[in-house]
């Protein structure tokens, strides 16, 4: 396959995100919905990079968003009066990436030696463990969290601070979603992706083929975690100007990540995008029709998908387009 042809599937991804962005920008009053959908897509894209490609479930995934949000919150909270201006955001994103990198390395070094169920068991406590470490050892203000609404104003000025919360934070969520999708495609088209496919299908056979499975699992785990960290930094810290440990380590975000990936199709490129939008839209309408019932409705949906359509929307679509010109674009 030629290089250009290899990366053709990026087109529908870019088109979809551009359409979503246009919908939010051009139609008055729709920006919040569009950015919320982008958040679900980004969450799914980032989560899919690990869960979809390796077949391992990380129940503590939200911990990476959590530490990422601290990575952004801390410099703004502590350095707002240093006159760093927008550099603070750069530092924040950098710190978010570093925090989530370190946490994923630490967790991965232990948990990724384990297989399947044992891996899941090891990860189920990560978010809680980290939350209680912050609260228990009173790190980063402990259970009181960090509130930096005023610090944002000091650092960036009132108008810019508002614009950051209302627009730029969301814009960056779009960016994370697109970067995550592109990373997924790059992985898929390179050795990493083939190694991950192999180990997802049959870990022993993969080892015998010369694949250092631990190395590739860690690669996917860290990439996925760092993207989550940056997502937490932008979608939560920058947007809301506060971080509470009880909020940012909330396991429901892991549930949402799982739903987004499964609805769309685990291990596909377009899946999390499609899944994120289906989930986001239905959640939005459910909130109007049956407020408070979203999770009660979505949890059985997960089970139904696993039992009845384990391939997800895009997985089924992929099968349909085999042999048609669309085949090159949909993965």
């Amino acid at each position: 396959m030629k290089n250009t042809e290899k990366y053709l599937p990026v087109i529908p991804v870019l088109v979809a995100y551009a359409a979503l962005l246009a919908y939010g920008v051009l139609i008055p009053g729709k920006w919040q919905i569009a950015s919320q959908l982008a958040f679900y897509c980004a969450l799914g894209q980032a989560f899919n990079l690990f869960m979809g490609m390796t077949g391992y479930v990380d129940f503590g995934y939200v911990a990476f968003l959590g530490v990422g949000s601290y990575g952004m919150a801390l410099p703004i909270y502590h350095l707002s009066d240093k006159g760093l201006g927008l550099w603070l955001i750069v530092i924040g994103i950098f710190l978010a990436a570093v925090f989530s990198f370190i946490l994923s390395l630490a967790v991965g070094a232990v948990a990724l030696r384990l297989r399947g169920a044992y891996f899941a068991i090891a990860t189920i406590g990560v978010n809680e463990g980290f939350r209680f470490l912050i609260e228990g050892a009173r790190i980063w203000n402990g259970s009181e969290g960090l509130l930096f609404f005023l610090h944002m104003r000091t650092a960036f000025g009132k108008q810019t601070a508002t614009a950051i919360s209302n627009y730029w934070a969301d814009g960056m969520v779009f960016a994370v979603a697109i970067v995550a999708a592109i990373m997924t495609l790059i992985y898929m088209r390179n050795k990493v992706g083939y190694a991950l496919t192999a180990l997802r299908e049959d870990e022993d056979a993969a080892k015998v083929m010369g694949i250092n499975v631990t190395k590739y699992k860690i690669t996917a785990f860290i990439t996925s975690a760092v993207l989550a960290g940056i997502l937490g930094a932008t979608a939560w810290s920058l947007k809301y100007s506060y971080v509470y440990p009880s909020d940012v380590f909330e396991i429901h975000y892991t549930v949402e990540a799982i739903i987004n990936v499964l609805l769309g199709g685990a291990g596909t490129l377009l899946g999390p995008l499609v899944g994120g939008i289906i989930y986001g839209v239905s959640k939005y309408f459910l909130a109007i029709i049956l407020p408070g019932f979203q999770l009660l409705i979505f949890a059985p949906v997960i089970i139904a998908i696993i039992v009845l359509f384990p391939e997800g929307t895009v997985g089924m679509l992929k099968k349909k387009v085999i042999g048609t010109p669309l085949e090159k674009y949909i993965i």
């Binding site: 083939y194 190694a195 299908e201 056979a205 993969a206 015998v208 010369g210």
Partner: protein, 249 residues
Amino acid sequence: MSLLRCENVTKRFGGLVAVDDVTFEIKHGEIMAIVGPNGAGKTTMFNLINGVFPADEGKIWFEDMDVTDFPAYKRAHLGMGRTFQIPRPFSSATVQENIAIGAMFGASGSETSTDMAMEMADHYIDLIGLKEHRDKPAGGLTPIEKKLVEIARALAMKPKLLLMDEAMAGMNPKDIDEMVVFIKHIRDTEGIAIVAMVEHIMRAVAGLAERVIVMHQGALLVDEPTQKALTDPRVIEVYLGKPPEDEHA
């Protein structure tokens, strides 16, 4: 220089000695068969050779390098390929991708780009005659086709030693004869040593192997050229059993 040397290799599972103090050598380019009844320790021996789990005692040398403590993937990089008794292709990947994965991560994997691997895969697809299935997911193939894909995948690793675990189980006699010819052909063209574990299909052993190792209850019973091994009274006893009345004689 031998290609592979096992020295006094022992493996225990709990109280059971699965492989008991086994020593043998494999030369470059030879076809050897390991045979023996069920539970003789053949599969365990295979797993020890290619590092699925470590030996409890003894040493394993590959081209004079001590690989006893190497994990499976490192041994694959040195040139060990393997197929499984029940074929284990990566089901969701296409035939071409399956074989390309072998090329990407095998002995010459570090110099092989994904594009090169795909081209190499095409070569092996021709070799096994599955051209029309090239872009199909391997999970949908027939068992024999899966087996062929697995062999091609192992060959694409450019191994010096190919371990084939019951490559012919579940095949009818015609397929077996074809497979024997095919395996000899790849040995001749690719110049690799082949160790086939074909403990029950004696027709294949007789037609294929130059040398036979017979294992029984974890230990090495016989290590001889094929004809000699198969007519050895100890081997016949292991297979046909000794009539009970002989015990009293």
